[in-house]
Amino acid sequence: MAEKNDQLQKPTVKETDAVKTQKLSKKETDAEKAQKPAKSRASAQLLQHRSTIKRVLAYIGNYKWWVLVSLLLAGVTVAATLYAPILVGDAVDLIIAPGNVDFAGIRTILYRMAVVVAVTGAAQWLMNHINNRITYQVVKDIRTRAFGHLEVLPLRYIDSHPSGDVISRIIADIDQFSEGLLMGFTQLFTGVITILGTLGFMFVINYRIAIVVVFVTPVSLVVASYIAKRTYVMFRKQSETRGELTSLVDEMLGNQKIVQAFGHEDEAQEQFEEINERLRGYSLRATFFSSITNPCTRFVNSVVYASVGVVGALAAVRGLLSVGQLSIFLSYANQYTKPFNEISGVVTELQNALASAARVFELIDEEPLSPEPADAVELQQADGSVAMDHVYFSYRSDVKLIENFNLDVKPGQRIAIVGPTGCGKSTVINLLMRFYDADSGAVRVDGHDIRRMTRRSLRANYGMVLQETWLKSGTIRENIAYGKPDATEEEVIRAAKEAHAHSFIRRMPQGYDTVISEDGGNLSQGQKQLLCIARVMLCLPPMLILDEATSSIDTRTEIRIQKAFAKMMEGRTSFIVAHRLSTIREADVILVMRDGRIVEQGKHEELLARGGFYARLYNSQFAAT
């Protein structure tokens, strides 16, 4: 975020070489990422770029009238900016020598200039403002679209992609895109017009000097790109070494307590200093090489300036050029190279922006959930019978998981799911709630295939309390009422009381209005779970899915949670991911899972008698040690 911060705080004025150096280092790493694929794929990339550009243009198309106005203003701005030096030059030509000054003429020119300057200022501001608006609106549209898509993506996608990656697409990538787009709008177009305009004006005034300028300026571009290429290698080395250092720091400081416990500080320091020393070398060269671009281009510019001065002066001697016109050329020569440098910056920025946009579109293009069939039924209050009928399921086609699984749950029964950590107990939950669809076979509720009902109504019939407690950032009241936003105050409090959460909530600083920070940072794990229970308690649907806590809750809270669970389960079909023997023994059916598979199912005594995996699991817990 720190880096983002820097970028955001960057004012929209022209960059100094200083800021450029800093940004360059970032750009290089990005560029490096982009360049990773082999060159043979370059053409494919180009194609992708083209389709990305088309889609971006489609989004911009919604604001085409504004774009048109912005282009118009850009034209006005550039023309006026280029006209001002001409006026100054004309005025200078009227100031020749003592007693030879045309004051009336100068006054007219200066009045005209005042108008031109005022128009330029106004047009420039308006153009910037419109560009801002267009950019941020387009970005908003895309971001909204991406987020909306997030809500219809199958959980398969969400589970299999690191959340950081998805977040960075919606936040950082779109941000990068907006920067590039804004720069493209403000600088690319004006830059091109400025170059063309300058050339035009110069040729009109004196084509010979114009030719000199045209031939000498590219030298500065060649020099700049030569240096940039050299610098690129150094920057890559620098960022690689920085990455190496950061990962060492991350590892050693992130686990500092272990480092200290094992007295490993000196070794760590040695390793650190070795990498740091390498970094110093690269950093020196990267900084130096990148910082010579400016003096070098400045030197080329001064050569241009000198050439224009000499050629212009010689022309003036021969009467081909006035002193005022010479001053116009001088100020053009000063300005002319700037847009070139800017445009090369914009092009890199635009490339990054397109790469980012492509990543965002990739997310948007991800296939959404299968649509609900037209005749999908609304599951009303379910009676609570659940059946699994020859269900086959796996996350990856090459790793078989659930095969030919059959289960028949009568209304009000308790199903305990047991097995070692990580054995895939959540798979069953995924199938029941239809977070995932079975590969073949059917899951039935009330005798109906759940694929033939709306997801909405199916899920409304389940109450779910997971061990990974998820709470929204918001007040405690909002969280309890999450499943029923229109619940009354009494309902909320009743649910909290039944979940044994009321007493601790009351002790919170603002009671039910206490704001829970992200991930419930200000609550203990147990309190969070009680809130999750209260959340379900408020709706109390006919079927439940509960996940017992393993270890991280203190005994007293745990007893409360048990009581709350028991209260909820009365008369409801419940699936419990169980860790507690008492829960397991009281279950009507125990599903024993191992390595993602259901290996046994039955009642406690039956399973013990069978002497299989369950029996081993059970006994090992009480093995005399």
Binding site: K4, I167, K472, Y482, R535, S620
Partner: protein, 611 residues
């Protein structure tokens, strides 16, 4: 903050020369308009081609000299900045390593990581920029004004008015927009938060069918973001047009004044052109200066954050360097261990104590009326703890979350210093041992099973730098990790990724146990270290530890009653109080909290059955 400057001392020469050279370069820049004026007034007016060519040559020469000065300056400043950054980084890393748990807890690991990485980078580039530009830009702005004065005082007065005006606009826009940008950033964070929340809570959102509301909420946040972005954009969009208008207005006045001056014969036409040129130079440099100031203020903030870390001092101080452990005692300790290993003696503390020739009465670990309070905490996390652990005993520590179990065992290797009372090992206060020696005698297996990048062997050597493969295998055997290591083709050369990502939780946990066992510690601390193991492996592990480490004093922290039920002594913690100590049977009958814990996990019959 100024303390950081001492790291620049090694580069004193570079740090002084770089700005001076840049200033010289700027001086040449300022001469250009004057040379140009010469061309116009002398060359063109007198039709002197030779003079024009000569002056053209002077211009190129000025550019060349400027280039040379500037390149040298850039090199010096890059060298000084890189050296500075490297030195600060090394020192900071060393300093952070000298901090104790108490300070690490207070500052926070992620903060420390940011400071040593991006904060130092920012300061480094700040140093580089300051050396290069800090003198140059103001010099050109004021230099241009001074040059204007040398040309004509009346015309120069226009500069005197224009420069402050420009400064007000440039810095004003910056001042107004910077806090606004921060606001935008905060709003962006809120959008990020909503996104994150919806990803992590995807199941809950869908279970409660709240997708439409979440989209609506996101739209609101997003809308706010756009509005603040557009607003700040509107403000900063003022800068360019406003400065443009001021500079050109000044130019208009300049031309008008110039016209009068020329008419009266005070200045020449060429000098008017020179004045106009100076005016446009000022604008460019002012904008550079403004950007420089932003960077400097950021770098200063970073520098302050770095200094703040330097200001924190490690609270664990060595009081008695090397006083306690004599060579004789060391020999005794190792004899003690090897004797026990060889003979597999009966494991009562009294006997093993005798065998080693230490008075039986001296406990291995002893807590006496110990209180402990975390930094900044209102209440003590542990209060009035007293117990003894004899050599060879296994001590179980049980209690709910936040009851102080981990804190208690962290006090033994002196990761924290006690607030009151004392912790003694072999009868000596832990504060009287040199820290290194103290910790060498203790093997710690932390809750979080972390391994480090490198090979498996390198990880094992953390426990004992000169351990042989044989010793490592022995430790792996006890930790129930041998089988898994043997199943890998590379064996001990198996590469471990950062954090041990390429291994499963259970594998990592067994390896961290082995790492602690490699050094054959006198005291082994297992801080809830078997949570990722299934019951069977957990049991086998405990059995192996018991059988193979006769004289080791083992602290077993756990939430599972089954894990600690067979310990020689069980410590029951509840909310920082030691509410019971004794064996399983004793405690089950006498300690209410212990009973509650057991019964919440086992049935009464089970509690009794295998005791």
């Amino acid at each position: 903050m100024w303390k950081l400057l001492k790291y620049l001392k090694k580069y004193k020469l570079e740090s002084i020369l770089a700005p001076l050279l840049k200033m010289t370069e700027a001086m040449f820049d300022l001469l250009v308009p004057l040379v140009m004026a010469q061309i116009i007034d002398v060359g063109i007016h007198n039709r002197d081609t030779g003079q024009i060519l000569k002056m053209g040559g002077v211009l190129v020469l000025l550019g060349l000299i400027g280039l040379a000065f500037s390149l040298t300056a850039q090199y010096f400043s890059a060298k000084a900045a890189a050296g500075f950054g490297t030195a600060v980084r090394n020192e900071l890393f060393k300093h952070i390593n000298s901090l104790s748990y108490r300070e690490i807890d207070t500052i926070g690991t992620s903060t420390l990581i940011t400071r040593i990485t991006s904060d130092i980078n920012q300061v480094q580039s700040g140093v580089n920029l300051v050396l290069r530009l800090f003198l140059r830009s103001p010099f050109i702005v004021f230099g241009a004004m001074v040059m204007a004065f040398t040309v004509n005082v009346r015309a120069a007065m226009i500069f005197v008015v224009a420069i402050p005006l420009l400064s007000v606009v440039v810095f004003g826009v910056l001042l107004v927009s910077m806090p606004l940008y921060k606001k935008v950033q905060r709003q962006l964070d809120r959008v990020l938060l909503t996104t994150r929340e919806n990803l992590l809570g995807a199941r809950v959102v869908r279970a409660f069918n709240r997708q439409p509301d979440e989209i609506k909420k996101f739209d609101e946040e997003n809308d706010l973001l756009v509005r603040s972005q557009v607003f700040v954009g509107k403000v900063s969009a003022l800068m360019n047009p406003a400065t443009y208008i001021i500079v050109n207005a000044a130019t208009i006045v300049l031309v008008w004044t110039g016209a009068w001056e020329v008419d009266e014969g005070i200045i020449t036409q060429g000098e008017v052109v020179a004045l106009v040129n100076y005016m446009s130079q000022i604008l460019v440099e002012l904008v550079k200066l403004a950007n420089l100031i932003i960077t400097i203020s950021k770098s200063l903030a970073c520098a302050n954050r770095i200094s703040a870390v330097f200001d924190v001092e490690g609270s664990i101080k060595e009081q008695n360097h090397g006083k306690i452990v004599t060579e004789a005692e060391k020999a005794r300790v190792s004899a003690d261990i090897s004797a026990a290993d060889a003979e597999g003696r009966d494991r009562t503390s009294a006997e093993s104590g005798k065998a080693a020739g230490v008075p039986a009465a001296v406990p291995k670990v002893e807590f006496t009326n110990m209180d402990f309070c975390y930094a900044g905490a209102q209440e003590a996390s542990l209060s009035d703890i007293s117990f003894t652990a004899m050599s060879g005993q296994t001590i179980g520590v049980i209690g709910g979350t936040g009851s102080g179990k981990s804190t208690l065992v962290n006090l033994i290797p002196r990761f924290y210093d006690v607030t009151n009372g004392s912790v003694r090992i072999d009868g000596t206060d832990v504060r009287d041992y040199p820290v290194g020696q103290l910790r060498d005698r203790i093997g710690v297996v932390p809750q979080k099973a972390v391994l480090f990048k490198g090979t498996l062997r390198e990880n094992m050597l953390w426990g004992k730098a000169d351990a042989t493969d044989e010793e490592i295998y022995r430790a792996l055997d006890i930790a129930q990790a041998r089988e898994f290591v043997d199943s890998k083709e590379q064996g001990l050369d198996l590469p471990v990724e950062q954090g041990g990502r390429n291994l499963s939780g259970g594998q990592r946990q067994r390896l961290t146990i082995a790492r602690a066992l490699v050094r054959r510690p006198e005291i082994l601390i297992l801080d809830d270290s078997a949570s990722a193991l299934d019951f069977a492996t957990d049991a086998a592990l405990r059995k192996a530890i018991r059988e193979n480490t006769k004289n080791m004093t083992v602290f077993l922290v756990s939430q599972r009653a089954t894990t600690i039920r067979n310990a020689d002594k069980i410590l029951v913690l509840d909310d920082g109080q030691l509410v019971g100590q004794g064996t399983h049977e004793e405690l089950f009958d006498t300690c209410e909290v212990y009973r509650e814990i057991c019964l919440s996990q086992l049935s009464e019959k089970e509690v009794r059955a295998h005791g």
